[in-house]
Symmetry: C2
Subunit: 182 residues, 2 copies
Amino acid sequence: MRILGIDPGLRRTGFGVIDAEGMRLRYVASGTIVVPPALPLPERLKVILDNLREVARETRPDVAALEIVFLNTNPASTLLLGQARGAALCALADSALDVHEYTALQIKKSVVGTGRAAKEQVQMMVQHLLKLDGTPAPDSADALACAICHAHVGPLQDRVAALSGVLNASGRPRIRNGRLLG
Amino acid sequence: MRILGIDPGLRRTGFGVIDAEGMRLRYVASGTIVVPPALPLPERLKVILDNLREVARETRPDVAALEIVFLNTNPASTLLLGQARGAALCALADSALDVHEYTALQIKKSVVGTGRAAKEQVQMMVQHLLKLDGTPAPDSADALACAICHAHVGPLQDRVAALSGVLNASGRPRIRNGRLLG
């Protein structure tokens, strides 16, 4: 299973692609889409849309994973982040990719083993788990961590859901705050 | 000049298309994209993306106009609205449409003559200005009002900007709170 992880942001959107075979993970690609801040908003969103579609076209993932975002206390920032996230989700939808969402807590627990991990610990563990030569950049590391989280948690969730039949109206496990609802 | 006005929302996204020739306006089309609330977020955004692209493909506007959104006091709602707005902007960017943004105040002033107009007054004036047989639905009316605002204000802004040379780095008039910055 090839997983595309995304860390969306209006200024920088990280992406990371890995292959997962059971517990074995393999690094495929990662990078950061840097959006020119001087562009008008619609063009900035188009940079995210076009580049993520290209990433999906070139790496051909089976599924995508995104972090459920942190709500900024500044409403204007939240709105901007929402628009960037909307553009990222549109790129994934256009690439016919099923999207799974995870909280920061789930991602950190899955990658580092604790939900209270610092950014540097996430970068270090991503490097270790994917046997990378160097430390990945922060945006790429977050995107790769999200993909790793799906590799660890996704199949489990699917199995639990299939066993207990807790699927919502659209055939997905009913999850609230990272917990499967039974 | 054919103008596509959009009133984006995650549950309902209104659109309205008009032709403007100087001060003469002509109704072309309008409607509401109703998004099934049971769908997962990525699929809801795709409904907005696909339908708006189709509207643009079928009506072939020259330019698009959007309302600068109201910031909800609820951060989660702001994030959802941001994502819907992101999807709408992606559809416009994909359709190679230049996007102009107006505040609710600018739109109401331009359509009703006062910034303190009620929703019903906007609907009535849209019906009157476009010589419609019936009152348009609220989402369509807001989208049409946005298009009418661009028909009234857009050419003026362009002319003022060209005369005084107050263009920002991306070649657009520098506007803050609806005022052109000189």
